[in-house]
């Protein structure tokens, strides 16, 4: 009992240090920008300017023609479209490649050709092919997502223990039963890792695509903020991008704990 209490106290001490360090960073930030004026606010805005811009941007349409929620929705729409298509294609493709020798033999060489190219590098090609609407972005996100999903579900299925498959054989499982009752449950944690990695990649690809050629979305907003030399707007956009990424990751992590319960999910 005493030991437990001590541990808790120690934990609290570090919590206080953490809070202090965050406050110290904000304090130094404020001190350097707003009191010492080391940098101009147009180049490096102070913390309160950023907060103020954030609140204003919720309703204001200056300088890029839409409010923050509109931009956010625009980005989300594209990401979710490309991501869900990518997952729907990537996970089954990865499982199939790992399960069937013949699919593996034919698909793998092609896949190995595409894999080393970062998803972002396809953006110019897709823009030329599809114009600058929702299509090229969705295509880039689809590609980044499916690569991450394929890699992870492939490794996941390959981790299935031979002994477990033998047990399946002993009980007279058909090939399909072995896949659905043994291999896929074994691979679930890896598949979820893939989903999370893919979400990060998808979110990054969408921001990059919006930076390059777009008329809405968070990436477009920060690019416009730079053109209008409103650094505070760029900060707001970056924080928003980071936050949304975190939220997505938390949702997927929660799903993983729910779905892959007891399958060595942390």
């Amino acid at each position: 009992m005493k030991k437990k209490k001590k541990k808790k106290k120690k934990f609290n001490k570090y919590m206080i240090i953490s809070c202090c360090s965050v406050l110290a960073v904000i304090g130094i930030w404020y001190f350097c920008i707003n009191i010492l004026h080391l940098k101009q606010e147009t180049v490096f805005p102070g913390p309160f300017t950023v907060a103020k811009t954030f609140v204003q941007k919720m309703t204001s349409k200056v300088p890029d023609g839409a409010t923050l929620p509109t931009h956010l929705l625009e980005s989300l729409k594209v990401v979710l479209l490309g991501y869900s298509l990518g997952v729907l294609f990537g996970v089954p493709a990865g499982i199939l490649m790992a399960w069937s020798k013949w699919v593996d033999r034919f698909m793998r060489p092609l896949f190995d050709l595409i894999r080393p190219v970062p998803g972002l590098a396809w953006i110019p090609m897709f823009i030329l092919l599809f114009g600058i609407g929702i299509m090229p972005k969705a295509a880039v996100i689809f590609l980044s997502t499916s690569v991450a999903c394929i890699v992870n579900s492939y490794t996941g299925i390959r981790q299935t223990k031979q002994e477990h498959l033998w047990v399946g054989d002993v009980f007279g499982f058909s090939n399909r039963q072995k896949l659905f009752r043994i291999a896929i449950p074994t691979a679930l944690p890896m598949i979820f890792t893939g989903l999370r990695v893919a979400m990060g990649a998808a979110w990054m690809a969408s921001v990059a695509a919006e930076l390059l050629a777009s008329s809405a979305g968070l990436g477009y907003m920060i690019q416009q903020g730079r053109y209008a030399s409103k650094a505070s707007l760029v900060f707001v956009g970056m924080i928003m991008i980071g936050l949304v990424g975190l939220i997505f990751d938390a949702i997927l992590h929660w799903l993983e704990i729910k779905v892959a319960k007891g399958m060595n999910a942390e």
Binding site: S18, V117, A121, P124, M125, A208, G219, S229, G242, D249
Partner: protein, 261 residues
């Protein structure tokens, strides 16, 4: 043994068939469908890839563009991984360091390096610094996280044993924690190098005068699909080589740790 040789033979034949089929489909698509208006056929792409390597794209040859990109990646990656690994090890070993840096790190990490591009241009201008800063961030985020997990998961029994034998805190850190974290650090470096490579391409696409990212971006601006495809192939080849070198380095330096990657 014979079985193994047979298996490699079959795989090789299948690989040739599938890649051949892909190229044939591409060739057919560009010759007999409306795709021909947009896409060059594979023969054009490969012959101009060689042409670009020998001749020029923009101001210099494709090889020089590649070297420019590589230089940026290597400088940024070295700086980023050095800072990242040392910070990560400290954060993994010492509760105090973790309490101080972790909240800030956790705030910075989820922002993808790409999102830093506009602000880095505002801060550093259009020169090399902005790009190196981005690659620094990309390498930093991944290596810090992995070095931290590596240092945190050191077997406490080993640390206690060494303490019993009279090791000082500094000795524990240098002779036990650091070597034990090496496999995990390498995992971070692997992710870091591909992330850094993707970031340099993105940074060059948005603002640069040379580099592979510039090549594909300029191809888009001039409506030159051949140049884009040649650039993409080059980016893929270099990305593959970087990952391969990293994997080999890991094999050599972590020989005891056969994780079977």
């Amino acid at each position: 043994m014979n079985e193994k040789v047979k298996e490699t033979m079959i795989s090789a034949i299948c690989a040739v068939i599938s890649i051949g089929a892909f190229l044939l489909l591409w060739w057919w698509g560009t010759h007999f469908t409306t795709l021909s208006k947009l896409m060059p056929d594979p023969v054009t792409v490969f012959s101009s890839l060689i042409e670009y390597c020998v001749g020029t794209v923009g101001k210099c040859s494709l090889i020089v563009h590649m070297l420019n990109s590589l230089r940026r990646v290597l400088i940024g990656f070295l700086l980023g991984s050095l800072v990242g690994i040392s910070l990560g090890l400290l954060m993994g070993r010492y509760m105090l360091a973790r309490a101080i840096f972790n909240p800030i790190f956790r705030f910075i990490r989820p922002i993808p390096p790409i999102a830093w591009i506009p602000i880095s241009i505002v801060w550093f201008g259009l020169g090399e610094q902005a790009k190196i800063f981005l690659i620094f961030l990309a390498a930093f985020a991944n290596t810090t996280l992995n070095a931290m997990t590596g240092a945190m998961s050191v077997d406490p029994e080993i640390i206690n044993a060494s303490r019993m034998l009279g090791a000082k805190e500094r000795q524990i850190f240098t002779t036990i924690v650091i070597p034990a974290a090496v496999p995990s650090i390498f995992a971070g470096l692997q992710v870091g190098i591909s992330s850094a490579w993707a970031s340099v391409v993105a940074a060059e696409m948005i603002k640069a005068q040379n580099g592979l990212g510039w090549t594909i971006q300029a191809g888009m601006d001039n409506n030159n699909m051949t140049q884009i495809l040649a650039g993409i192939i080059m980016i893929g080849v270099v990305g593959f080589l970087l990952a391969y070198i990293m994997r080999k380095a890991e094999e050599v330096m972590c020989r005891w740790n056969k994780s079977g990657r």
